[in-house]
């Protein structure tokens, strides 16, 4: 009876594993397509801006991540990832904050507004007015990041299912040494 329950559990786990593998293959194909779109858009941007205008030379000396991962443990040893995007960067305000008379003599300096805590958009590394293809590249790679988190979760689940399957197969062998 215990062996029958174990076999049923094994079957269900195996079906789930095969389903996960199929889903992984599908998501991977989409990720690869997004990344390829991104490269094509980067190439177009490079054509528009110049060969050396889109590359490591433009990286900022200070970077804050706009995208982070939230890792949660659904079951023991099973990690799931979720992409979290930080707040939208407030547009920079240019000019006086209030309608006020300007003083000719040196005024007491009003405190500068605190710079926004939201990280700077990496598009700004490449200039103020960037070609549309660079924005398209950014969009493609952002989609790719979401898919990467889903694929990483699926990979973890597949690894977890593998170890669960092995454990169940061992138990089954102990219960049915001849048949297993």
């Amino acid at each position: 009876m215990a062996a029958l329950d174990l076999r049923a559990e094994l079957d269900s786990l195996l079906l789930q594993l095969l389903g996960d593998l199929e889903e992984l293959e599908g998501k991977r194909a989409v990720l690869n397509a997004r990344v390829e779109e991104g490269w094509l858009s980067l190439a177009k941007a490079r054509y528009a801006m110049g060969t050396k205008s889109v590359g490591p030379l433009q990286y900022a000396s200070h970077m804050e991540p706009q995208v982070c991962l939230q890792a949660s443990e659904a079951q023991e040893g099973l990690q799931k990832f979720k992409v979290v995007r930080s707040g939208v960067h407030a547009p920079e305000e240019v000019g006086p904050r209030e309608a006020a008379l300007r003083r000719r003599k040196a005024p007491t300096k009003t405190p500068e507004p605190q710079s926004s805590e939201a990280p700077r958009d990496p598009l700004n590394w490449f200039g103020i007015l960037v070609p549309h293809s660079l924005r398209q590249a950014q969009a493609s790679f952002r989609d790719g990041l979401q898919l990467a988190a889903d694929i990483a979760s699926l990979q973890n689940r597949i690894d977890w299912s593998r170890s669960q399957l092995r454990g169940l197969q061992e138990k089954l062998k102990q219960l049915e040494p001849g048949a297993a």
């Binding site: 690869n32 490591p56 990286y59 706009q66 990690q79 990832f81 690894d159």
Partner: protein, 147 residues
């Protein structure tokens, strides 16, 4: 920083790293180490492996590393460029052709975090037969197990 969540690291060619940094994953300041490595033609396998294993204290400019351009004392610190030992990295994205160079290190990595994701590069399309995760899944069953 503690409540911010985990980072996504990337080890890849110039376009791959630039693209994902455009997506907003890059972290670099004077106190932290970069979470990316641009692999050039002259980047050594040791460097890639060291970066992969744990992350160290070299300023961001070393991201495009050329060993011959570093002072000998600095070069010793490059050994500590290792992503696996950082507890704030959730996923490592790596071009598959680079993963092939350090396949032994990838196969030895059995933990769920950080997860390693192999992605294609412009010159090398993705090959599922080479992926570490799928190879492990493929080798799961023998004919006897399925009887």
């Amino acid at each position: 920083m503690a409540g911010r969540g985990k980072l996504i690291a990337v080890i890849g060619d110039e376009d791959t790293v630039t693209g994902f940094l455009l997506g907003g994953i890059g972290e670099l300041n004077k106190n932290r180490h970069p979470n990316f490595l641009v692999v050039e033609k002259d980047t050594t396998i040791n460097e890639i492996e060291d970066t992969f294993r744990s992350l160290g204290s070299i300023p961001g400019s070393v991201a495009e590393a050329n060993p011959s351009q570093h002072d000998p004392p600095l070069w010793d610190e490059i050994d500590s460029w290792q992503f696996l030992n950082r507890d704030d990295i959730g996923i490592i994205l790596i071009n598959q052709y680079i993963a092939e160079m350090v396949r032994h290190a990838l196969d030895a990595h059995q933990h769920s975090i950080p997860a390693v994701l192999e992605i294609p590069s412009k010159e090398h399309p993705y090959d599922a037969a080479k992926d570490s995760i799928l190879r492990r899944a493929r080798g799961m069953f023998t004919a006897e197990d399925l009887r």
